[in-house]
C-alpha cells in the first residue's frame, strides 16, 4: 500500500519535473500539456480508495512550490479532480483512445471551471482561464491528444501503481 502510494507520487512528481523542463521544447504557443493532472486522473479512475486523492494532493502541493500560483491551488484542483474521476471508477470501460481523449478534454474544462470559481471566491488572487482566448482551448486539445499516449505508458506501470484488484478493469 505505502509502496504504491510512494510510487504514484514519485511518478506524478517526475512528470511534473519533465513538464517544467523538457516539455518546453514541444510547447505550442508557449502552452504546455498538464501531464501531472492526466496521471492523477488515470490513478484516480483505475485505483479504488484514496490513492488518486493522495497523489493529487501531494503532487499539487509540490507543483505550487515551483509556481507563482498560491500554495494549495494545484493541490485543491488535483484533489477535486481525483475525487470526481474516482467516483466514476468502475462505472464504464476505458478503451485505448476515445475515453482517454475524453478524460483529457473534460478534465481541462473542469479545471478551468474550478479556477473560475476559485478566482471568484478569492477575487484577484487567483488567475482563471478566459474562454474567449486560445490558451484554454490549446491546452484542452493538447491534453486530449496526449492522454491516450500517457495512459498507454502508465498501463505498463500498472503493477507498480495499482492494487491487484484494479489491474484488469
Amino acid at each position: 500500500m505505502i509502496r504504491r502510494l510512494a510510487f504514484s507520487f514519485l511518478f506524478v512528481s517526475t512528470l511534473l519535473i519533465v513538464q517544467t523542463t523538457w516539455l518546453d521544447a514541444i510547447a505550442i504557443y508557449s502552452v504546455l500539456p498538464d501531464l501531472a493532472l492526466l496521471a492523477v486522473l488515470y490513478i484516480s479512475f483505475k485505483a479504488k480508495g484514496l490513492q488518486g486523492q493522495f497523489t493529487g494532493f501531494f503532487s499539487g502541493l509540490l507543483q505550487d512550490g515551483v509556481s507563482a500560483a498560491p500554495l494549495g491551488l494545484s493541490a485543491f484542483i488535483n484533489t477535486v479532480m481525483a475525487t470526481i474521476f474516482n467516483s466514476l471508477s468502475g462505472r464504464f470501460y476505458i478503451d485505448r483512445i476515445l475515453m482517454p481523449v475524453f478524460f483529457g478534454l473534460s478534465a481541462t474544462i473542469i479545471k478551468a471551471l474550478l479556477l473560475m470559481l476559485l478566482s471568484w471566491i478569492f477575487k484577484d488572487k487567483i488567475l482563471a482561464y478566459d474562454f474567449t482566448q486560445p490558451l484554454i482551448w490549446i491546452e484542452t486539445a493538447y491534453n486530449g491528444l496526449l492522454a491516450p499516449l500517457l495512459f498507454l505508458i502508465m498501463s505498463v506501470l500498472d503493477k507498480l501503481i495499482l492494487p491487484l484488484e484494479s489491474r484488469h478493469d
Binding site: I17, D24, L50, L62, V66, A68, F76
Partner: protein, 289 residues
C-alpha cells in the same frame, strides 16, 4: 456492507484532502506561505536542475553532429576573416583609445552601474496561467527577493523581471509580461512617465498606462521605454521595450501605449540578476571598515 463502509471512508478521505488543500489556499492567498513555498521550491528545483542538465546534454550531443559539419565550413571562412580582422584590430585599438579619452571627458563609467550574477533558466512554471521561471542561483549566491533580472539580446540590455522567491540554490522569477508585473517606466526621448503592466503572455505587448495625453505629439512608434527608477524594485535606465501602438481613449485623462519588450522571451536562456549599485555597495563597505 463492507463495500458501503469503504466507499464512505473514501468519501470522508476525499473531503478531508479537499478541505486541507482549500485551507492551505486560504492561508497562502493571505501571503502566509513563504516558508512552505520555499521548502517546495528547494526540493523540486534540485530535481529540475538535474533534468534540465540531462536534457541539455542529450540535446547538445544531437546538435554536436551537425554542429561539427557546420564548424568545419565556418573554420575555412574564419581563416579568411582572420586576415581581415588583423587589419581591423589595429584600427579598433586606435578607436578604443579615442573612445576612452572621450569617456573620460564626459565623466562616464565604461562599465555597468550595478553588480550582477549570471544565471541559467532551468525550469518554467508548470501551469499555463502563470509564467514564472526557475533560475539556478539562490541564497548561497547572494540572491534575495525582489532583485531585478536583465538579459542581453542583439547587443541590448533588456528588463526580464524580478525575483519573487529564493531557495538555497535556485530562485523563482516573475517576468515583466506576467499579469502581476508592474513597472514604473519613462519614455527615453520625451521623458514622460507611465506604468507598464504585463498582459499575461510573452506573445502579447506590455501596456503602459497613465501617460499624459499632451505627450502624444512627442511619442513616436519605436521610441524606447526605460525603467524610471521611481519604483525601488528596478534601477533606473534599464530598457523595457519599444512603443508599438498609441491608444487615446476619450474617457481617460491619460493615454495608453503598447510596447514590445526588448527581450524575446522565447529564446531566453541566460540572464543576469542585478545586485546593489556598485557605488552604493562600495560606499557601504567603505563605511563599515
Amino acid at each position: 456492507m463492507p463495500d458501503k463502509r469503504s466507499s464512505r471512508r473514501t468519501f470522508a478521505g476525499s473531503v478531508l484532502f479537499i478541505l486541507i488543500s482549500f485551507i492551505t489556499l486560504m492561508v497562502s492567498t493571505q501571503s502566509l506561505s513563504g516558508v512552505s513555498k520555499q521548502l517546495g521550491l528547494t526540493v523540486i528545483s534540485f530535481f529540475q536542475q538535474g533534468f534540465s542538465t540531462v536534457g541539455s546534454f542529450v540535446a547538445d550531443t544531437i546538435y554536436s553532429i551537425s554542429e561539427l559539419r557546420r564548424l568545419e565550413a565556418s573554420h575555412r571562412d574564419l581563416l579568411i576573416q582572420v586576415e581581415a580582422l588583423g587589419k581591423m584590430e589595429r584600427e579598433f585599438t586606435d578607436l578604443k583609445k579615442e573612445n576612452d579619452r572621450l569617456r573620460q571627458l564626459l565623466q562616464l563609467s565604461s562599465e555597468a552601474h550595478y553588480n550582477s550574477v549570471a544565471a541559467r533558466i532551468v525550469a518554467k512554471d508548470p501551469g499555463n496561467l502563470y509564467s514564472t521561471f526557475v533560475l539556478d542561483k539562490g541564497t548561497i549566491h547572494g540572491i534575495h527577493k525582489n532583485q531585478a533580472v536583465v538579459a542581453y539580446q542583439d547587443g541590448l540590455e533588456g528588463l526580464v523581471g524580478r525575483v519573487i522567491e529564493v531557495s538555497r540554490s535556485t530562485c523563482l522569477v516573475v517576468p515583466i509580461f506576467d499579469s502581476a508585473s508592474f513597472i514604473a517606466v519613462r519614455m527615453e526621448k520625451s521623458r514622460y512617465e507611465g506604468l507598464a503592466m504585463g498582459s499575461g503572455s510573452d506573445e502579447l505587448p506590455l501596456i503602459v498606462q497613465y501617460v499624459k495625453k499632451r505627450a502624444r505629439e512627442e511619442i513616436q512608434f519605436g521610441d524606447l521605454v526605460i525603467t524610471s527608477g521611481l519604483q525601488s524594485l528596478y534601477p533606473a535606465g534599464i530598457k523595457v521595450g519599444r512603443v508599438s501602438k498609441l491608444r487615446l481613449l476619450d474617457y481617460l485623462t491619460s493615454m495608453e501605449l503598447e510596447i514590445e519588450p526588448i527581450i524575446d522571451f522565447s529564446r531566453l536562456e541566460f540572464v543576469f540578476i542585478i545586485g546593489a549599485d556598485k557605488e552604493s555597495s562600495s560606499s557601504s563597505t567603505g563605511g563599515g571598515s
